[in-house]
Structures are given as structure tokens and as C-alpha cells.
């Protein structure tokens, strides 16, 4: 009975109602961890049942009865005491051996064919770089099924910790160091997973989430090819054979612009997203821009507005030379992401507009991070209303920028 208990437990907790359960066999790492867990829980359950039954039995059997005999005084029993010293030691050997084997398996370096991903923790978002593919993105990872993936983790500021519970154990992203974590998502059908920061990193530690999409090799290649491109905006009109006039706006080498693939790469289909990876964080009161204003947003106007806005100081859009910032997340393919604000909101016009309007109300931020931009908004740090002189934008201007950014597929 004791043996069945932990197995039963992990089977129940792997069910769909627990979408972030660690009891999965999606990766080699988690299979090892689960196996260790099962071993330990088996012994743990035996010890637990033995100790608690012994305790309860002792309490019942030796409760004081009126007129009961005076207890016999026993001061110790060397044989018994040796037994309960040696037996736990033997049990520990059964736990220690697979433990050490697993430590050396996952800490002696990733397989040579592993996909390399650099993970850089920021207060409070994740920067992901795929050096071989030339991709820089934020808060959303794509991993091909069946290929080992090696995360090289570091931090720009304080210590963070990278964790996708369904795929593998966590590893800290430590300033001035590079840590490694690798696993192979080898027995999983294409799916989306939640990730989180697990080392306390300040005000928005709870809001430093991310997504990992495990997709087929072909879809991964398509996604990677799409992400590796520069942003093309405004897109060349389909009926313009040359397309040169449109492309000149943003492309540093206008002559080559038409040759670029115009179709965006693969994006994990929104309709296949499991419910738990779709954020439900509500928008704070008073930040919502009416739908009709958002619907009137014009990407071309937004492009021009963006290029004159505060945004460009911190954000980068490859292919838009006016936007070289490196402090905030790379926005080159913002439209290809499902989430916003480090996994906190859905990436749609409503949320993006509210975010631009007053990011510091959407999520607790630091005094050096994205300021409020909406005209008349009270910035939580300065406690002052945002004015036009400070770069404030009205709802329509924000709606235009939203239209532009969401067009960056």
C-alpha cells in the first residue's frame, strides 16, 4: 500500500487540472527527477507509515489506566538503537546512488547537438537569444521537439531563476556568471508551457513569467527564419511590383527589400493555446482605451509616431534604424507573441494600449523602467501627471502605435 501511494499521487497530480505540475515525463530531466521523487517517496511513505503507526499504537497501548501497573524503567537498548541508526543509513544509500548518478548526468555539459539559447534575466522580464539563428526575443521561447536544448543563463541586474515546471528543474540566472541547464523535450506533443522566475528579484518577482512553446522541427525552423529577419514596415503593397517606395522607410538596404520573405514565420496557433497559458490578469481601472479608438489605429501613422516617441530610447526594432534601444525587450516581432509584460497580459490591442498608457500601473516596476506615456496619467513614481512636454501621447496616438507594433509579425 505504501508503495502504491506515491505513484498514485504523482499520477493524479500530472492530470490536466494541474497544468504546471512537475510530475511529467515530457523531458529526460523530468523523468529522472520524477524517478528520484518516486524512490524517495516510496521510502518516505514506508518511514512515515511506520513511525506514525508506531507512535499512535504506543499512545493507545500505553495510555495511563486507573490502577495500571507502574511502568517498567528501560533506559535504552543498544541493539534497538543500533538498528534505527543503521537502517536509515541503508535507506539513504538507495537514495544517494541514483541522486549522484543524476547529478553527473545533467551537470557534465549538454550533448553536442544541443540547441543553444542564451537566457538573460532582467527586472522583470526575460531576454532570450538564439545565437546560432541570430534571434533576439523576449518572454517567449520556441523549442523543437526531440532536440536537446541548452540554456546559458545570466542576469543583467539581480539574481533570477529560470523554471518551466513541466519541462525541467530550475537554474538561477546569476549576475557576473553563466549557468547552464539542459534537457530534451523528447516525449511531448507540440504544446505551450508556463515558466516563471523563482528567485525573489524585487517588486514584480511574481510578474516575471514566460512561455515556452514546444513545436515540431519544421515549425521551429519556420519560426526561427521569421524571427531572424528584420522587421519590414510598412509592408510592400502586394500590387506594387517593385515595392521599393514602401520599403525604403525602414530598410537600410532598400534595393534588397523586395527579396525578403514577406510571409511571417510560424507562430504557435492561438486557438491551440491551453487555457492556463492565456493570461487572465485584469487591466487596472481607468486604463482601457475604447475599442472604437483602437479600431481607428493606423499602423502608418503609428510608425511615424513611434519613431518620434520615447519608446525608441529603450526598445529595438531591427530594420527600423530610428529604434536602436537595448534597455527594454526587443520589439522586432512583437506581433508574433501571445503575451505581454513578461507573460502577464494577452498581447492584443486593448492590453498593449493600456500597457503603453501606464505600464507602471499595469505591473509594479522600478523607477528606471518603462514610464507612463499616456497624457494625463499619473506616474506612480513621480506622482505627476504626464504632459506633452514629457512625451505624453493621447489615446489616438497610442492606438496608432499599437496598430504599428502589432503589425510586426
Amino acid at each position: 500500500m505504501a508503495a502504491a501511494l506515491p505513484l498514485l499521487l504523482s499520477a493524479c497530480l500530472g492530470g490536466p487540472q494541474y497544468p504546471n505540475s512537475t510530475f511529467t515525463d515530457h523531458t529526460d530531466f523530468n523523468r529522472d527527477a520524477s524517478e528520484l521523487w518516486n524512490t524517495m517517496m516510496l521510502w518516505g511513505a514506508i518511514v512515515f507509515v511506520f513511525v506514525e503507526v508506531l507512535l499512535v499504537y504506543t499512545m493507545w497501548k500505553y495510555r495511563r489506566r486507573p490502577g495500571g501497573p507502574e511502568p517498567e524503567h528501560v533506559h535504552g537498548n543498544t541493539r534497538l538503537e543500533l538498528t534505527w541508526t543503521v537502517l536509515p543509513a541503508v535507506i539513504l544509500v538507495f537514495i544517494a546512488v541514483p541522486t549522484v548518478r543524476s547529478i553527473w548526468r545533467f551537470q557534465s555539459g549538454a550533448p553536442a547537438n544541443a540547441l543553444q539559447i542564451d537566457v538573460i534575466g532582467h527586472q522583470w522580464w526575460w531576454e532570450f537569444r538564439y545565437p546560432e539563428q541570430g534571434i533576439v526575443t523576449a518572454n517567449e521561447l520556441y523549442l523543437p521537439v526531440g532536440r536537446p536544448v541548452n540554456f546559458n543563463l545570466t542576469s543583467k541586474d539581480v539574481i533570477h531563476s529560470f523554471w518551466i515546471p513541466q519541462l525541467g528543474g530550475k537554474r538561477d540566472a546569476v549576475t557576473n556568471r553563466t549557468n547552464h541547464l539542459w534537457f530534451t523535450p523528447d516525449s511531448v506533443t507540440p504544446n505551450a508551457f508556463n515558466g516563471s522566475c523563482n528567485e525573489f528579484c524585487g517588486a514584480s518577482h511574481a510578474n516575471m513569467r514566460f512561455r515556452a512553446y514546444v513545436v515540431s522541427e519544421a515549425d521551429f525552423a519556420s519560426w526561427a527564419a521569421g524571427q531572424a529577419q528584420n522587421a519590414v514596415f510598412p509592408p510592400p503593397a502586394p500590387d506594387t511590383a517593385g515595392g521599393a517606395s514602401a520599403a525604403t522607410v525602414s530598410n537600410p538596404a532598400p534595393a534588397q527589400a523586395p527579396a525578403l520573405p514577406l510571409a511571417p514565420g510560424y507562430m504557435f496557433p492561438a486557438e491551440q493555446l491551453p487555457a492556463h497559458v492565456v493570461p487572465q490578469t485584469p487591466i487596472p481601472d481607468g486604463l482601457v482605451i475604447p475599442d472604437e479608438v483602437l479600431a481607428a489605429g493606423d499602423p502608418q501613422r503609428g510608425f511615424e509616431q513611434y519613431n518620434r516617441s520615447l519608446c525608441i530610447g529603450c526598445h529595438r526594432i531591427r530594420g527600423n534604424p530610428r529604434s536602436p534601444g537595448v534597455i527594454g525587450p526587443d520589439l522586432t516581432h512583437l506581433g508574433s507573441r501571445h503575451t505581454l509584460g513578461a507573460g502577464l497580459f494577452r498581447n492584443d490591442a486593448r492590453h498593449l494600449a493600456a500597457w503603453i498608457k501606464n505600464a507602471r500601473r499595469m505591473k509594479p516596476l522600478s523607477s528606471t523602467s518603462m514610464p507612463a506615456v499616456g497624457l494625463g496619467e499619473i506616474d506612480p513614481f513621480t506622482k505627476q501627471p504626464v504632459t506633452a512636454a514629457l512625451g505624453g501621447l493621447n489615446d489616438q496616438q497610442i492606438a496608432d502605435i499599437v496598430a504599428y507594433l502589432l503589425a510586426l509579425k
Binding site: 504546471n20 528520484l36 521523487w37 511502568p71 549557468n179 517588486a203 509594479p364
Partner: protein
């Protein structure tokens, strides 16, 4: 203390004070223990309220009951409060009250240093707690990991209060630890050899060495942080190339022994409670003592198991994983020894006994979950999740707090001369036991199902709602349980059933004197011949197979001497094991008692002023800060000088 040439005209010379001054000037270890107990219970309420607000916020997803800023202060202060202001001082209350009584001494080795320890604790506790009323409490976690807690990422005053507050509290802990270690080594009654000491004194003795060895490490680590924050050094400044793991290693070299500093006194208390209510001696006394020493020793070699996710490499992970597993052995030994203490006994289920048994049952759960993160690959799925929160609450609440409750119910009659109400105690126990499990058991699930620690909010639909809801209701239920305890505690002081000197039929020296004990404790220091000296008198039939000897008498008698009564009769200070039920004053007996003095309080206040100057300086008020430093230094040096040049007892 007592010297051979005691004055025949010994008086207390008007030094006896009343009312509040009595408490401010006391150097009596029992009164200081009482101060510790009440102050710690006050902070227990503070830490509990912090926890309940957190559980209110986490009861539902995407809740906005408190802001992230406030939540981060709450969890930082909950941890800091419970560790440094509640469990350690509750243990200190028992060290103070019990150690001299258990070893047959009239006070601790340094009574005035003892008062000083308490006042430093009180001032440090207030220093670190009061800022939360102004939304400026420490917010970097009780572990205060750098670089987050450096000036660059925590520019506010918040972490200043933490780094200075813990430094102040460290002074208190170290002073007390040296005091108790000295007391236990030097002041045992004749025949009270080490292997005859009651188990609580044994565990306390181990704890004093853990404090003496572990606190200097955190002191140095805090000085580095203090210099970084106030004087611009770069010990932990990552932008200047510092390794952020330096702090973590220093913190946990202190922090892991700290866990045993918290738990071993509770182990000691239940080792007193279980034999008493089973009417049997402790099973395997030497093994219980040795395993305590071994736990303390191994406790210094496992700190990096708090850091398996920081990337130490396979060798360190292997070593620390295996040493951590080894600790399970001496801990398991204790569990079995306690159960076999009960085995064959005649168990009385008093409230104290229920709490002691609950410690065995609950600590076992904490121990088993502890093994599951002694294995690094498994720990990587558990560390920094709610599973860990569940684990250490089973150890610290299910272990330390349950043990301390057992101790309070058990020793209340000795402390106040009256029993606590058993019916209310039973309600307290059951409500507390259910609420505790309801709060912390579901956290195991939340953690293994992916919920990180220290988050002020979480999204809906993550599979965590049920568990958080249950945990919150458990936490809310703990409040009435604790209120019942507090009601019972204060009511029983004046209205409880009068207990008598030895209500539980216990075996150790503290029960051989009146309840509450007179100021001098023992009119004549008992000469001990066995491990259960009181049973030698009350139950000689139980003692036939227990070794008796007069080992250690001669040496101890040399240190004890004689005293002179008011009528001028010379009496030896020692007497064969006896029961004292007569209550006289120290003056009548001619026992010189240390004079009450307020100087230790002022020295402690000087330290508070000195440390308080640094946040003032941080705020840019340099002149005011220098003025405070000068005042603090003058107070500290001046009152210390006055203290050290005043004889402890009246001139003979």
C-alpha cells in the same frame, strides 16, 4: 557569586525596586526569562498578523488586497520576525528560566550581561519592526540576497533597517550564548556532571556553541553589506565585479546552523516533557545527547543545500547532497528514542504531552520532505516553490513551535505557581493542530504543481486555487487558536489551579523548589548523585537500576562554599539532595544576590542610538547623524564604565 567570606551584615540596601522599575532593573534570570517570554509572544502576534494578511492576499488569484510593495515587506518581516524575534527569544526565555534551575545554580554566570542581552533584543526587535508601520519595512527577504539588497536595487531605507537590526540582534544572541555556555560549564551543582544534565540543558548547551560559532559569520557578512550600503564599498556590488554568491555562502553558513539553533531547544523541551508524562526515564539518554551534538556538528557542513540551483557544479552538489542526507540519521534516532520513551509507559495526555507528541508526528513529515530536497536533481524541481514553504513550516512550526508550546504548558506551573487550564489547553491544541495542517499541508501540492515562493499574486487557472484557498483558511483558524492560548496564559497567571512544587511528578532539580521559585532558587545547593535527583527522593523504587555516584562533588563543593544567615549562623551552601518547600527571602537566608541595576539597559540604549545614526546619515542628515553617534558612543562607553566599576553585590 557567593563567596566563602559572606558578610554577616548583608543587606539589599534599598536596592529592591517595585513596579515597572523592578522590571527595568532586574538581573534575576527568572524575571529576564519572563521578559523574553512576553516580548516574544508579542512579536509572535506581529508575525502572525503579517502571515494572515499574506494569506488574505493569496486566497484568490489576481487579488489586489495588498500591493506588491507591501506584500514583499510582509513576507520579509514575517520570516525575520519568526526566526529572530519569536523562536530564538522563546528559546532564550527557557534558557533563562530553566538552565540555572536545572543545573542547581542561583543565577547565570553574568546576571547583568543577561539583562543587557534582553534589552538589546528588545531594542533590536523594535528597530526592525517599527518601520512596517510606515511602509518602510525591509523588503528583500529574510535571506536578503545580494545584489537585490544592495544600494543599486534597494535604494530606500528599507534594507538598512534589516541589516542594522539583525546586527543589533546578533549582539544580543552572542552575549547570551557566552553567558549560558559559561553558566553550564561552571555553575553546575555538585554531582551534576555533564551526563547527568537534564536533556533541555544538554540541547541548550549545544545551541550556545552553534550561536557562538555561527553568528560571527553573519556578523561579518552584515558588516560587508553595511559598508556597501553606507560607506560605498563593493563587497557585493555586482557592477564592480563582485560575485553575488559570496553573500549566499556566508548567509547560509550562518543560516543552516540557525535552523538547529531554532529546533534543538524544542527537542530539549520535549525530551523533558515526554519522560515526565510517560513516567519513564528518557530512552537512550546518551544517544539523544550525542545525536544533538552530531546534528549541531553536521549542521555546519550542509549549508549549500540551500543553493543547489545557483550552479555550484556536480562535485559540490554531490557533497552537500550526501552530507544533508546524513543529518537524517541523528534526527531519526531522536524520533525513535522519543517513541520508545513512551513505549511501556503510563501516558498522561496533558496539553504539554499532546504538543510534544505532535512534534514527533509533525517533525517526521518535515524530515521526510527534507530528504526529498537533499537530492539536488529533485530539489531543482522543488527549491523556491511552496513545497519548501511547506517543508520548513513542518520543521519550524510543527517542530520548534509545537515543542515550545509543550514547554510553556509544562513549565507554566513552575513559572507562576499555577497550572494553565487543561480544557482551554486542549481546545488550543486541537484547533492549532488542525489549522496548522490545513495551512501547510496543501502547500506541498501547490509547490509540486509549479507555484513559486514569494509571489504576491498568481494568475487564475494554474491549478493552485484550491490549495491556496485551504491554506488561507488554515491560517485564519490559527488566529483563534492562538487567542485561546493567550487568554489561557494570562488568565491562568492569577486564576489557574494552584500547582504546588512538583505538579507533574518530574525528576529534575527545578521541581524540588517552590513554585514560583524564590529569587535565590536554592537555599542550599543540592548535591546530586544521579541523573534523576528528585526521583531519588520521591520514587526511590524507580531508581534501583540507575547508577549513582558522588563523582564531581569535591570540585564543585570547593566553588560553592557557605553562607551566613541573618542570625549569624554559618551554614554550608550545599546539602544532600533535598526538597525545599519553605519560601524565605535571600536576606533571611544570608544569600548575597546581585543588585538590580538599570545600567545594562542604558548600555543597550547606547547601542541602539549608535546604530540608529546610520539611517539618519543615509537620509543625508550628516550632522544629525554625527551628533547621534557621539551621544550613542558616550552612552555606550559611559554606562559600560559605570556598570563595570559597580560591584555586582553590596560591599562585604
Amino acid at each position: 557569586m557567593a563567596t566563602v567570606a559572606a558578610s554577616p551584615t548583608y543587606t539589599t540596601a534599598g536596592a529592591r525596586r517595585t513596579g515597572i522599575m523592578d522590571w527595568l532593573t532586574t538581573v534575576d534570570h527568572k524575571k529576564i526569562g519572563t521578559l523574553y517570554l512576553h516580548t516574544a509572544l508579542f512579536f509572535f502576534v506581529v508575525g502572525g498578523v503579517e502571515a494572515i494578511i499574506m494569506r488574505w492576499q493569496l486566497m484568490r488569484p489576481n487579488s489586489t488586497a495588498v500591493s506588491a510593495e507591501v506584500f514583499n515587506q510582509l513576507f520579509t518581516m514575517h520570516g525575520t520576525t519568526m526566526v529572530f524575534l519569536v523562536i530564538m527569544p522563546l528559546s532564550a526565555a527557557f534558557f533563562n528560566f530553566l538552565i540555572p534551575l536545572q543545573i542547581g545554580a542561583r543565577d547565570v554566570a553574568f546576571p547583568r550581561l543577561n539583562a543587557f542581552s534582553y534589552w538589546v533584543y528588545l531594542f533590536g526587535g523594535l528597530f526592525i519592526t517599527i518601520p512596517i508601520l510606515f511602509n518602510a519595512a525591509p523588503d528583500g527577504g529574510w535571506f536578503a540576497y545580494t545584489p537585490l539588497t544592495g544600494k543599486a536595487y534597494s535604494p530606500g531605507q528599507n534594507m538598512n533597517f534589516w541589516v542594522l537590526g539583525i546586527q543589533i540582534l546578533g549582539i544580543s544572541s552572542l552575549a547570551a550564548a557566552f553567558n549560558f555556555a559559561t553558566t553550564i560549564i561552571n555553575m553546575r551543582a555538585p554531582g551534576m556532571n555533564l551526563m547527568r544534565m537534564p536533556m533541555f540543558t544538554w540541547m541548550s548547551f549545544v545551541v550556545q556553541w552553534l550561536i557562538i560559532l555561527a553568528f560571527p559569520v553573519i556578523t561579518i557578512a552584515l558588516f560587508f553589506m553595511q559598508f556597501d550600503r553606507f560607506f560605498g564599498t563593493n563587497f557585493y556590488v555586482s557592477a564592480a565585479g563582485a560575485d553575488p554568491l559570496l553573500w549566499q555562502h556566508l548567509f547560509w553558513i550562518f543560516g543552516h546552523p540557525e535552523v538547529y539553533i531554532l529546533i534543538l531547544p524544542a527537542f530539549g523541551l520535549v525530551s523533558e516533557v515526554l519522560p515526565t508524562y510517560s513516567r519513564k526515564p528518557l530512552f537512550g539518554y546518551p544517544v539523544v545527547a550525542y545525536s544533538g551534538i552530531l546534528i549541531g556538528f553536521l549542521g555546519f557542513g550542509v549549508w549549500a543545500h540551500h543553493m543547489f540551483s545557483v550552479g555550484m557544479g556536480p562535485i559540490a552538489d554531490t557533497v552537500f547532497g550526501v552530507t544533508t542526507m546524513l543529518i537524517a540519521i541523528p534526527t531519526g534516532v531522536k524520533i525513535f528514542n522519543w517513541i520508545f520513551t513512551m513505549w511501556g509507559g503510563a501516558i498522561r495526555f496533558t496539553t504539554a504531552m499532546k504538543f510534544a507528541i505532535a512534534l514527533i508526528a509533525m517533525f517526521t513529515i518535515g524530515g521526510i520532505s527534507g530528504i526529498s530536497h537533499a537530492s539536488p536533481p529533485s530539489d531543482l524541481q522543488q527549491t523556491d516553490t511552496y513545497y519548501i514553504v511547506a517543508h520548513f513550516h513542518y520543521v519550524l512550526y510543527g517542530g520548534a513551535i509545537m515543542g515550545i508550546f509543550a514547554g510553556i504548558y509544562h513549565y507554566f506551573p513552575k513559572w507562576y505557581g499555577r497550572k494553565m487550564d487543561e480544557r482551554l489547553g486542549s481546545i488550543h491544541f486541537w484547533l492549532n493542530f488542525i489549522a496548522f495542517n490545513l495551512t501547510f499541508f496543501p502547500m506541498h501540492y501547490a509547490g509540486m504543481l509549479g507555484m513559486p515562493r514569494r509571489i504576491y499574486t498568481y494568475d487564475a487557472g494554474q491549478g493552485w486555487e484550491t490549495f491556496n484557498f485551504l491554506s488561507s483558511w488554515g491560517a485564519f483558524l490559527m488566529a483563534p487558536a492562538f487567542l485561546i492560548f493567550i487568554w489561557n496564559f494570562f488568565r491562568s497567571k492569577t486564576r489557574g489551579e494552584v500547582a504546588g512544587d512538583n505538579p507533574w511528578d518530574a525528576a529534575t532539580l527545578e521541581w524540588s523548589i517552590p513554585s514560583p521559585p524564590p529569587e535565590y532558587n536554592f537555599a542550599q545547593i543540592p548535591m546530586v548523585t544521579s541523573r534523576y535527583p528528585l526521583w531519588d527522593l520521591t520514587h526511590p523504587e524507580r531508581m534501583k537500576d540507575i547508577p549513582h555516584s558522588m563523582d564531581g562533588w569535591d570540585e564543585a563543593k570547593l566553588r560553592t562554599g557557605e553562607h551566613v544567615t541573618a542570625t549569624g549562623v554559618h551554614e554550608p551552601d550545599v546539602a544532600p539532595m533535598h526538597i525545599e518547600s519553605e519560601r524565605k527571602s535571600a536576606k533571611e537566608l544570608g544569600i548575597p544576590m546581585p543588585n538590580p541595576t538599570i545600567k545594562p539597559l542604558w548600555v543597550a540604549a547606547g547601542i541602539l542610538v549608535l546604530f540608529s545614526s546610520l539611517p539618519v546619515m543615509y537620509a543625508g542628515k550628516t550632522l544629525a547623524a554625527f551628533a547621534m553617534m557621539a551621544v550613542g558612543a558616550v552612552m555606550f562607553v559611559g554606562f559600560l564604565y559605570a556598570w563595570l566599576t559597580t560591584p555586582m553585590e553590596d560591599a562585604h
